[in-house]
Symmetry: C2
Subunit: 168 residues, 2 copies
DNA sequence: ATAAACCTTAGAGTCAGGTCTAAGGTCAAC
DNA sequence: GTTGACCTTAGACCTGACTCTAAGGTTTAT
């Protein structure tokens, strides 16, 4: 069943003859170690669409894209389980209803939105700290995260929360 | 040195007589277990500003705010080391230069900005998936994350990246 | 004054997510 | 045809961040 490796390491993939990558090449390309790639495969997140007769993994460009998706989702902070769930979102035309798909997707989207909001709150705090510190127009008295947060709170209270929507 | 606990559990804190919290009360307030609070203390992230004679921890409102900061930073995805670094940003008027502080802060701010950008990219992908799936104007052919990503890429290429800034 | 519900510490256990090792097979070049 | 750089697997090990346990002291209500 498995296609045999020809010289130049090309499989008959999508009839375009794009060279497939060995695991160390994929590793170099994605910045994930070969250990990690095999680990992800063991956990069902990725796979190599071909194997040589000897069992060597060969990755197509589709495989590469999937690996890149996993890597960036990990980087964002999704767990392997989350990613697994994200990747499993798929309508198979009969058994799975579209409602299932949109439910999961909407839940994940909400998670993402929440995380963005929290990060923006942290962004604001850091920016205030930066502005407050030494030479900023806010004087040099606020010089730690906690002081910046307190200064932020005071300002909010004084000004009656004019522009809403920061944090908890 | 430690102030003795009076009835009603109030210490002479900021001359306002705000009741201080015991560890289980702080736990209830923050949603962090008492184990976790002691664990954070062991790692230098938080502390109780008072201890009773018997060694019970008592937390002031300043302590509480610090704990809440740690909790939300953890939730965002900062490691305990990151948080430790964030909390240590502080000018002590002589030894530490303001440049040090702003350097660290700017670095963290950049981290936060990067993470926001990545999350926004994921947000967009999920939104496309949602739009593409079953009944959306984009037809029902794209029904998985990977297909949504590919559809997104194609659209970007076709339209020559009109609005930039959705990474990798 | 005793029970129930707290609190203390030191240290062991757990889980996710890698990371590494051992023991061996494969391949390209010389 | 052998060397060195690859590849394979199973499984042991590591780190971060909790989470729990044991053994005991304290506080509050009855």
């Amino acid at each position: 069943m498995a296609l045999i490796r020809s010289e130049g390491r090309e499989f008959e993939q999508t009839s375009k003859r794009i060279p497939m990558l060995k695991i160390s090449e994929l590793s170099a390309r994605t910045g994930l170690s070969t250990h990690t790639l095999r680990f992800y495969e063991k956990h069902g997140l990725i796979s190599a669409s071909e194997r040589s007769e000897a069992g060597y993994r060969y990755y197509s460009d589709t495989d590469v894209r999937r690996v890149e998706f996993v890597r960036s989702a990990r980087h964002i902070g999704f767990s392997l389980n989350d990613i697994s769930e994200l990747l499993s979102i798929r309508v198979d035309k009969s058994s799975h209803s579209c409602q299932d798909v949109t439910d999961i997707t909407e839940a994940k989207l909400e998670e993402v939105n929440t995380r963005i909001a929290e990060l923006q709150s942290m962004q604001q705090t850091l920016q205030i700290l930066l502005d407050s510190c030494c030479g900023g127009p806010e004087s040099a008295t606020h010089c730690s995260i906690m002081e910046a947060l307190e200064a932020e709170q005071e300002r909010e209270i004084e000004q009656g929360l004019r522009s809403g929507s920061h944090g908890r």
